[in-house]
Symmetry: C2
Subunit: 322 residues, 2 copies
């Protein structure tokens, strides 16, 4: 649970820093959040991308073929993707983890996405992927078809139908979006919503979504703050909120994705995204962009002078400013 | 004017980078904007803070006394302010320029803010303050009372009354906001709105606002992209938009300030802020936070692989992805 003593200390210091109270807005919130989990020192930021493939792709729910997942993993490993540039820009380490050997999960329109064994294997892969020494974990994903899984999972947890949650993903046309919504509706008819949170994750999720769940749980146990990315990452960790009211308290949502459904999902989980840059790429790109914001928040909290410090030491000013 | 050939080249490259077209949203816009003014290389980012004092303070429009401007300048010089931490975090140089020797401008409720000579002196100070080698200029300000000047200037350019534009500034209470709105209304009654843009800047602005205008003009002449900060900076450069339809094309608005009036002012100038973090500090803090976003945009555009590059070289994938 968040360390309330640390929060009190942080608030007390914020109140005497050389600025009008509250004037750093969400930076102050970020410092308080980070400090409620660990000391206010961000030496090592890690970005973990989990990659997996999806059986539901057979339903024509993506404009890209499954082999693009593997091609993008190669692209990550040869430093050619957007996230590679953003990781360097944020002075963060990038880790790429393939889940389920990139074999497609089950097609949840007529099967479950993962067997119980496969689900636990994927969760464990994620759980063990959080690097040693990590002070801030940013999460990303790659998996052709995974916005369909995210939409189905959102529908399973929060109601509404396929059309409500299905968006264009990586560039689907209008007919594709209809196919996607219908695939989700078929899955909901088949499996229903009346299952335990982890069971919903297993039925409707997929390899990399289960790994994201595991990584977020590991971070909680190790008191590592987590920066969430877009629709898929947010949907993947939703089961933790269903399991415990404070299950996502160690996470923040980096941005509002352009992908339909993300804004609603964020709202239902109580997240207020830090940014809204019309991103819809995944890979952890939004989360990576938020790392400099966390660094900025900590730098201000730790580095700013207090009103009692030198520049304000003139007695008259002290009186008038306090 | 923006270099349209450069824009075409940037768009052509964006189209073949390894991501769905348009999926980097506003980062793509930022790269295009930056590249329309200078090569896509951000070696040196400079933050210029202009500081000045305001005669209108005599009308009880701020909760802080005038000597806080000087104290904050000392704080900047001793690295104790928020902007010092954010400049370091953004790997930017920080420059602090006092304007008008921190002597208060005229009180525009019964006088003009600046004489013609003082106005030109302040503009020139700003014009000459833009550092050599600057690739991106972030603007900030410090001046107790300057949100009153910004509000008056906004009212002069865009209509509406004092109550519409007057906010809490650095922490004004309800009565203070009413005093502030009334002071603006008195000034509008006295001077009116029917003046040339530079004359409005001279009457309602002040030392640091005129310097911000000068710096933004210098940046235009030297093709340096400018990142604007909050309400005061935005109001200070509004005359350039009134002088020429494309007068602010080399600028972008870093964030939406929590200060009342900024959202409306941004909208009337056609800006869509990059961030909304509830900041209301000034100093260029919002602009500084946007510098990593510009670096990120350029890093993606310059560093990403194309679909024809190695990771995607398999002929089958090339065919299916193009």
């Amino acid at each position: 649970m968040p360390d309330q003593d640390a929060v009190s200390q942080i608030r007390a210091r914020e109140a005497v820093l050389t600025k009008p109270a509250g004037s750093l807005g969400r930076l102050e919130e970020l410092a308080e959040w980070f400090g409620s989990w660990r000391p206010l020192c961000l030496d090592q930021a890690d970005i973990c991308i989990f990659a997996g493939n999806h059986g539901v792709l057979a339903q024509g729910v993506s404009s890209w073929p499954a082999n693009v997942t593997e091609a993008m993993v190669r692209n990550f490993l040869s430093h050619g993707a957007a996230i590679n540039q953003l990781a360097r820009n944020a002075d963060a380490r990038l880790h790429v983890v393939t889940v389920g050997n990139l074999v497609a999960s089950g097609d949840f329109t007529w099967d479950v996405a993962l067997s119980s064994e496969a689900f636990l294997e994927a969760v464990s892969t994620g759980y063990n992927a959080v690097p040693a020494g990590c002070d801030l974990l940013a999460l990303g994903e790659m998996g052709v078809g995974n916005t369909t899984a995210a939409a189905a999972l959102s529908a399973a947890f929060f109601g509404e139908d396929g059309a409500y949650w299905a968006g264009r993903g990586a560039g689907l046309d209008d007919e594709g979006v209809i196919r996607k919504a219908q695939a989700i509706d078929r899955a909901l008819s088949l499996h229903g919503r009346n299952h335990a949170p982890l069971e919903l994750a297993r039925i409707y999720g997929g390899w990399e979504l289960a790994a994201l769940l595991g990584a977020t749980l590991a971070a909680r146990h190790r008191r590592i703050p987590v920066m969430l990315d877009g629709f898929v990452v947010t949907a993947a960790v939703a089961p933790l909120a269903a399991l415990h009211q404070e299950g996502l308290a160690h996470t923040r949502l980096a941005h509002n994705s352009h992908e339909q459904g993300h804004r609603q999902l964020a709202s239902r989980l109580g997240f207020v995204p830090l940014m809204d840059l019309n991103l819809r790429l995944g890979e952890g790109t939004g989360a990576a962009l938020a790392i400099p914001l966390v660094r900025a928040a900590l730098a201000c909290h730790n580095g700013m002078a207090r009103f009692s410090d030198a520049a304000f030491a003139d007695e008259n000013e002290r009186k008038t400013m306090k």
